[in-house]
């Protein structure tokens, strides 16, 4: 995959959040750097859900943290409301944060175990001095009710008394207390049981409508992403390989990696029989990525061109962009 290019970006005045050529690196022990996110660009228009999918180590969570300014970025810009978050420092950055909030995979450990649920949800409002005590209490109750928790029952209990699904609802209420424009969800349902997973996804969808949110949804689960997104970005070794619509992703993946990923998803239908794994081996190390297209070492269609030249993202059908010299179909 390996793709660079910006064919998939919408016009600047259309987008709410726009990320251009973002690079995020981790230092390693030998003094070098691992480029976890390498020249990634994408945008989100208001009210849209953009999902980033990929396997462990593809850089999807690092991308989310880079966007949130939770990790230092090496280069590139993250523009929200006309301001470049990567250039903001200290108080300026703090003032921009209420507009972009995040929920995490492990909801239990992301909530302070010593605080009661009401205090947890109220904390962001208190920090920002929003409303009087009574107004805040009302707002907290409303938020808890909107995630299907009864404030009278849960309000004075602590996170340790709740299940993973309930804690994720508390995190959602907390993240939405400041009425952000963008909610970044990093694998929000990955550690939950299937029957609870769909409850949380429904709540996220309801909240999106109710508060007019835009979502950046990070997940490894193609089926989940297929169900809730408007636009899907597939990443491999720190680069974007395909940008697609949910329907196209499932029915006509253009990148060979996307195709392999889609066909590896277990389908609960025995009539389809046993499908052979297409992709063998595992991704190469990001410390020393292959030249040209990063997927070429495992790609069934790789040629010399793929080693020599890095493919650019280009539109292959409406709303579907692929960074591949020899796309499928």
């Amino acid at each position: 995959m390996a793709g660079v290019g910006k064919a998939h970006l919408r016009s600047e005045n259309e987008s709410l959040l726009r990320v251009d050529n973002l690079v995020v690196e981790y230092k390693n022990n030998s003094g070098g750097a691992v480029r976890a996110v390498s020249d990634v660009s994408f945008d989100i228009v208001a009210g849209e859900t953009v999902a980033v999918v990929g396997e462990s180590g593809c850089g999807k969570s690092t991308l989310a943290k880079g966007v949130m300014q939770l990790l230092p970025t090496v280069s590139g810009t993250v523009i929200l409301n006309g301001a470049d978050l990567t250039k903001l420092k200290g108080e300026e950055l703090r003032r921009a944060r209420p507009n972009i909030q995040m929920i995490f995979q492990d909801s239990i450990s992301s909530l302070d175990p010593h605080l009661k649920v009401r205090a947890l949800v109220e904390q962001p409002l208190k920090v920002w001095g929003r409303g009087t005590d009574d107004e805040r209490r009302e707002k907290v109750d409303e938020l808890l009710r909107s995630v299907n928790l009864d404030p009278e029952i849960v309000g004075d209990r602590k996170p340790t008394e709740f299940s993973g699904g309930q804690c994720q609802r508390i995190s959602i209420a907390r993240a939405l207390s400041l009425e952000p424009q963008v909610l970044v969800c990093d694998e929000p349902v990955s550690s939950l049981d299937v029957s609870i997973q769909s409850q949380i996804l429904n709540i996220i969808q309801d909240m999106k409508k109710r508060y007019g949110l835009s979502l950046l949804f990070i997940s490894h689960d193609l089926s989940v992403v297929r169900a809730i997104s408007d636009r899907i970005i597939v990443m491999y070794l720190g680069k974007v390989c395909e940008v697609s619509t949910p329907d196209k992703l499932a029915s006509a993946p253009a990148h060979h990696y996307t195709h392999a990923l889609v066909s590896a998803v277990p389908v609960p239908d025995p009539k389809l029989g046993r499908r052979k794994a297409i992709l063998q081996g595992e991704p190469p190390s990001p410390t020393n990525p292959p030249s040209g297209c990063r997927f070429r070492t495992r790609c069934p269609a790789a040629t010399d061109e793929c080693a020599a030249e890095e493919p650019q993202l280009r539109e292959v059908s409406p709303g579907q962009f692929v960074a591949c010299h020899h796309p499928r179909g």
């Binding site: 299940s163 049981d193 029957s195 769909s198 389908v267 239908d269 595992e282």
Partner: protein, 325 residues
């Protein structure tokens, strides 16, 4: 059907501070030679506890096991820990979800691998080393000669799981228990590991039990499926029958709640309301009744037995789906 592994009315109870926790409430399951049984359930359904107790991994003062577990004609529940150990590897082996904690972090792969071969099969060191390489090749491990010199932390999750599988099949067990073997792995690696397990089962003629929370995994790889809820088997049928003629409302709800890649709508997901019951203070009646959209007063007061619908399809419901009123 020649059964190699049978659980008969197996009950597992833990004594906890809050009271007796009935993790498994009388499960009867038979595994025939060479077949693959899928066991599906959510966290806390008792699926893992059941097999661990059956294998003799769970024992102690606060664990009560009742019923019968018969492996290749031998009763396991009355055996001492030492006696059961003799069967591990040769008769039954297990692959766990987390291969990192199952491997010794301070010993090289080769040395911990050959230990089992030397101790159990009485091989010499050289024989064991040669057999180790053979087994690692069998699980399609690239460059096994280099691998045996490595430590577990130097391997990826998928490679560690291959090592675990190779160790599990080292002594040709009759039954391989795989407990969430791919849950910690990426989807492409998961597909490779599932392929490998199915191929090995055919090649070696083992029976296999795959324990998982993912119906998608067992759909493509098992012959029969048991669905568990709150410590009970609630439905048991051949894989094709279970999916084509789902009888148990819980199974239907579970299937409906999973987002599928083949779905076209981006509408709301059909979630199962509520959460699984607390195993210490479980209500009378059908355990699924509080979350079941078909529940009646009878379901809330009377506990349904596992019944045979007449075609070997077992379910635990007064009003099975597709059977009329």
């Amino acid at each position: 059907m020649s059964e190699v592994f049978s659980l008969v009315d197996l009950k597992v109870r833990f004594d906890t501070k809050r009271g007796a926790l009935n993790a498994v409430r009388g499960a009867t399951l038979h595994v025939a030679a060479g077949e693959c049984l899928g066991v599906v359930g959510e966290s806390g359904s008792g699926k893992t506890v059941m097999w661990r107790a059956a294998m003799g991994l769970l024992r102690g003062k606060r664990v009560t096991r009742e019923g019968s577990v018969i492996l290749d004609g031998t009763e396991l529940l009355t055996m001492t820990a030492k006696e059961v150990r003799q069967l591990w590897g040769t008769k039954i082996a297990m692959v766990f979800q987390d291969p990192m904690t199952a491997l010794n972090p301070v010993r090289r792969i080769g040395s911990q691998f050959s230990e089992a071969l030397i101790k159990r099969l009485g091989m010499s060191k050289d024989e064991a080393a040669a057999r180790t390489l053979e087994l690692l090749k069998l699980v399609r491990m690239p460059e096994p000669e280099k691998l045996v010199r490595k430590y577990p932390h130097q391997l990826s999750g998928g490679m560690r799981q291959r090592v675990m599988i190779a160790m599990a099949i080292a002594c040709n067990p009759k039954v391989l228990l795989a407990d969430e073997p791919t849950t910690a792995l990426d989807v492409t690696v998961q597909a490779q590991i599932l392929d490998l397990l199915s191929d090995l089962r055919e090649k070696l003629g083992m029976a296999m039990v795959i324990v998982t929370h993912d119906l998608g995994i067992v759909a493509g790889h098992s012959d029969r499926i048991a669905v568990m809820y709150a410590g009970e088997v609630v439905e048991l049928a051949t894989t094709a029958e279970l999916f084509a003629n789902t009888r148990m409302p819980y199974t239907e709800a579970l299937l409906n709640s999973i987002p599928k890649l083949t779905d076209t709508s981006t509408s709301r997901m059909r979630a199962i309301p509520g959460s699984p019951p607390d195993p210490v203070s479980i209500a009378a009646g059908c355990f699924f009744a509080p979350r079941c959209s078909y529940a009646t007063d009878r379901c809330r007061t009377e506990h349904p037995e596992l019944v045979d619908g007449g075609d070997g399809h077992l379910y635990r419901c007064f009003f099975p789906l597709g059977k009329g009123a």
